[in-house]
Every structure is written in C-alpha cells, then in structure tokens.
Amino acid sequence: MSIEIILIKAREAILECDAKKAVTVAQQALEEGLDPIEVLTNGFSVGIRDIGDLFGRGQVFLPELMMSAQAMKEATVILEAALQAGDIAKKGKMLIGTVQGDVHDIGKGIVVAMIKTQSIEVIDLGRDVPVHTLIEKAMEYNVDIIGTSALLTTTLPEQRKLEDQLRKLGLREKFKTMVGGAPCTQRWADRIGADAYAEDAAQAVTKVIELIGQKN
C-alpha cells in the first residue's frame, strides 16, 4: 500500500473515531516499512486537527472527539514502539490547569486529550488551581511546560501572577509557559511574558511541540 493511501486511511480512522481501524492502519504502515513519524504527523495528526476543527464548528461532538483521541492514542502506541529510543526521548512533559477562581475546564480537557495523542506526558491538575500549586507540582514532576487556561476576564490575571511568581522565585527560565482561554490573546501572552499562546486545541498541540523543541 502506498504512503499516500496509508496517510488517507490514518486520517479517516481518526475522523471515523475508529480505534480498530487506526490500529490496523498503524500496523500496516510498519509492515510496509513506512516512517512512523511521517505516518503520525501527516496522517493521524491531520485527522486530529480536522476533527478538532469540526468540533469547533459544531459538526462533531464531544463523545466523538474523545473516541477519536482514543483512536489516536492507540495508533500512537504502536507507531512509537517502532521508533528509536532517541526519537522517544524528544517528547516532553507538560503540567496544565485551569487557574484559581475558574471552574471552566471543557476546553482544557480537549487540549489535554489532543496533546496526549502526541506522546507528551500531561499532568492535569484540573480546575481552580492556585499559582503556588502549579509551581509546586511543576517542580515535583520536573515538567517542561506549564500551561494555564482561563475562561473569565476576572481570572485572566492569574496567568500573569504565575509569570510574576516564577520570576520572583528565579524559576522563570526553568519552564516554558503557555496560556489559553476565551479572553486570552497573543497580545495578553506578550504583555505578561508567556512563551506561547494557543487559540484552540489544535494550535495548542503545535505550540507545545514547538516549545518542547526549543527546550531541547
């Protein structure tokens, strides 16, 4: 089977939320001697980006999105097993939480599901997380990235508080930071000195991979 067909089938498996098909396609790709990274990047990941977009337009719903994420995860396990140890070592660790005072975490849950599909370890602290807890846990798990989500204009300042606190403790260079949430913008990220801003889950995946690349 040609690489083009495998990539199309990989994308389809994700869009159809079909874990069995995703696993079969991943196995076929390996049997054909294809590059696992290419299959992941140009096949399965394209499917995840597309389904994320359809979700954002109200054409696909949360249960399907979660099933797609599961299909991606199962395919990723198979493809990763074929990668060299060095390739796996490139993956990183991310801590994420909705800031203190904010209990909105539907969007964050989607971001977590999507990032996990990239074999990045995600420690999700849930919602209403104080800045000191974010920092303590970031140290404890020795993460690469701290990501925060805020849905309300009234809770947005918590993201700035995290930046200030990291600077105060001399830890700012130890972690990359990423911010998101409806009132959040690139301008806000620049204002507070965050390393990255992501508008949606698909962009969050891209930005996380970029940040991990910068750290390495």
Binding site: G58, F61, L62, P63, E64, M66, I106, P183, T185
Partner: protein, 349 residues
C-alpha cells in the same frame, strides 16, 4: 491612505484601512455562512456595515423609528453584586426603571442557577412580590439550567466531564439524561413559585452552558411551564452560537440539538412555547471588530428571518460583536447595536 479607528475582539484599539475593514467584513460573514450554512450578507449590507464601522463619532445610534426594547440577564444583581453597591435587588430594579430607562429587568439570585435557588424560593418569591408592587416595567425571574450542578459531588448524577475522557461514553450520556429530568423539575418548581409571586415571565438563561442536555432541559421545562401557565411570558436565552454536543444524540421534536446554530435553535424555542429568544454569538478575541460584527450580524439575520417570535440579541462582554473586556467601549457597543438592529433586524437586545 487614511485609516479608521476600530478595535480587536479583546477591546484593544487598532487602525485599519478601508481595504482591511472591507476584507474583514467579508471574511466574517463568510465564516458565519460557512459554519451555519446560511446566506452571507449582501453587497449592500456589507456596505452599510462598513459605513457603521467607520462612522465618525464615538457613539452612533439607530435611525429614528428603529429603536428596540431590552431584556436583561441577572440585571437585578448587577448594581449590588457586580458593582458592590449595597442596595437590595428590588431597589436596583427601580433604579433601572426610573433612572436608566430599562424596558424590563430580570430578578436573579447571585447564585444564578435553578438548582441553587429552589431552596431559597420563598425568599426569592418575597422579593419578586415586593418588586412587583413598586415597579411598572415587566420584571422576569432569571436563572440558568446549569446542568453541571447536578453532577457529583454537588448533585446526584455521575460527572460526564470525568466519564467522557475515560471513554465511558454510554455512562456519560446516561448521566446527562438523568440530570435533564432533575433540572426540568427544578425549573418548573421555581416557575410555579414565581408565577404565584406575580412575575411577568421567566428567563431561562444561558441555556446550553453545559451542552445539548442543558438545552433539552430548558425546552422541556418551557413546554411544561407554558401548559401550566399560558399567560406567563418566557424568554429563552442561549449560551453560545452553536449547541455544544456534550451528549451528541439528544433530540427535541425529532431534531438533534447538538450543533444547531441560532436560526435552528429559535425554531425549537418557538415550538416549546418561548415568547422571546435570546440569540448568542461569541466574540473572537483575536479577530477585529469588523470581522466579529459581520459574523454576528450574519447569524442574527438568519435567525430573525427564521423566527416567528421576537429575537433579543445578547450584546455585552464577549458576545454580539462586543469585545471580550470588562468595560466594553461605547464606540464598538453602539456600532454593534446599530448593525444588529438595522442589518440583523433584531427585535430587541
């Protein structure tokens, strides 16, 4: 080349050229049309919108005769709880009536959910009775279905937000279906109390905040309230421009709820018995005001054309083309109003 002052969706001021504004208007209307499968704005409408965006003056207004009426969400709380001025809600409503020129207001509790207020219904009803004695404008009672409150540990059903990521889809769906029944009972219970207290209507507000099941609860409750109290007015306000599919399979009147946009939402609100529909279109903080308002007007126009009941558009922080900032600037708020009424044909705000 001259540039015009406008704003980004987070409220920050920017200067754009005529070409940039026109391009953003076109992109905005295209985005809405593409998402909801509705017509784009016509050339004349886009020209009118361009004129509104670039009109001189800080504040602009609708043409004489085009004025509309307003309803509110949690309006009775805003002076006391949001601005921290120590007055009771009844007084706040009278200030809105006599000083601020409001056409109506809703009395809402700071814990703005039907589940939360049912336990203090007697106090809420007393406040409504007092308010009704002194006010002339229609006073509604407002709250949210807020289905999330019915999940453990705050409520009786399993938490679908935890079940879904675990792949326990059927259980997550069953939990939402169970929560709908609890919410319907609470909404109807509060409506009964408010009817007896003399409320002019119920505002079932921010429907859909917890997804499609949340909307189903609102619709089912409206149907029951209308059967019991045909004269009690009902406004159904939405939470977002499309119904989020947390369940994905729920239907009302044979129509799947998840993914519906305002022009389809309003038909179900009508069917259930709502008298006023509160359309919501979200503002994108990263896009310009011309883009956001073109998009919003496109959704609203399709909605008002489909509707047989009046449509009141939510126009405030982060919705209705208004930037997502705590103190929305009057330059864009008044432009949003004018565009929504003159092009979107809104019946109220």
């Amino acid at each position: 080349m001259s540039k015009f002052f406008t704003r980004m969706g987070d409220g920050f001021g920017i200067y754009l050229s005529e070409e940039e504004i026109r391009a953003d208007i076109e992109e905005g209307t295209k985005d809405a049309a593409d998402r909801a499968q509705i017509p784009q704005l016509s050339k004349e409408e886009m020209d009118h919108l361009y004129d509104i965006v670039t009109m001189p003056g800080i504040v602009v207004g609708v043409e004489r005769g085009q004025e509309v009426v307003t309803t509110s969400d949690s309006g009775g709380c805003k002076i006391s709880y949001h601005c921290n001025i120590a007055i009771d809600r009844s007084t706040a409503i009278l200030i809105h009536e006599k000083v601020l020129g409001a056409d109506s207001l809703d009395l809402g509790h700071i814990d703005y959910s039907y589940k939360a207020v049912k336990s203090v219904l007697h106090d809420e009803a007393a406040m409504m009775e007092l308010t009704q004695l002194n006010s002339v404008i229609p006073v509604l009672y407002g709250s949210m279905p807020n289905l999330g409150l019915y999940t453990k540990p705050d409520g009786p059903v399993d938490n679908w937000a935890e079940l879904l990521p675990l792949g326990r889809i059927d259980e997550a769906r069953a939990a939402q279906e169970e929560a709908v029944e609890h919410a319907v009972k609470d909404i109807v219970y509060v409506a009964e109390g408010m009817y007896e207290a003399g409320a002019d209507g119920m505002n079932i507000d921010t429907s859909g905040a917890s997804g499609d099941a949340d909307v189903l609860a609102a619709l089912k409750a409206i149907e029951i309230i209308k059967q019991k109290f045909p004269d009690l007015g009902i406004e159904m306000g939405m939470a977002g421009e499309f119904i989020l599919g947390m369940h994905g399979k729920l239907e009302y009147d044979g129509v799947r709820l998840a993914g519906l946009y305002p022009h389809n939402q309003v038909k179900l609100a009508e069917k259930a018995g709502a008298n006023i529909f509160g359309a919501v279109v979200n503002t994108n903080s990263n896009m310009s005001f011309p883009w956001n308002i073109a998009r919003t007007v496109t959704f609203v126009k399709a909605c008002t054309e489909a509707a047989n009941i009046p449509v009141h558009v939510n126009v405030g922080m982060g919705v209705g083309g208004v930037p997502m900032c705590e103190v929305p600037p009057v330059d864009v708020v008044t432009r949003a109003d004018k565009a929504l009424i003159e092009i979107g044909k809104a019946d109220g705000l």
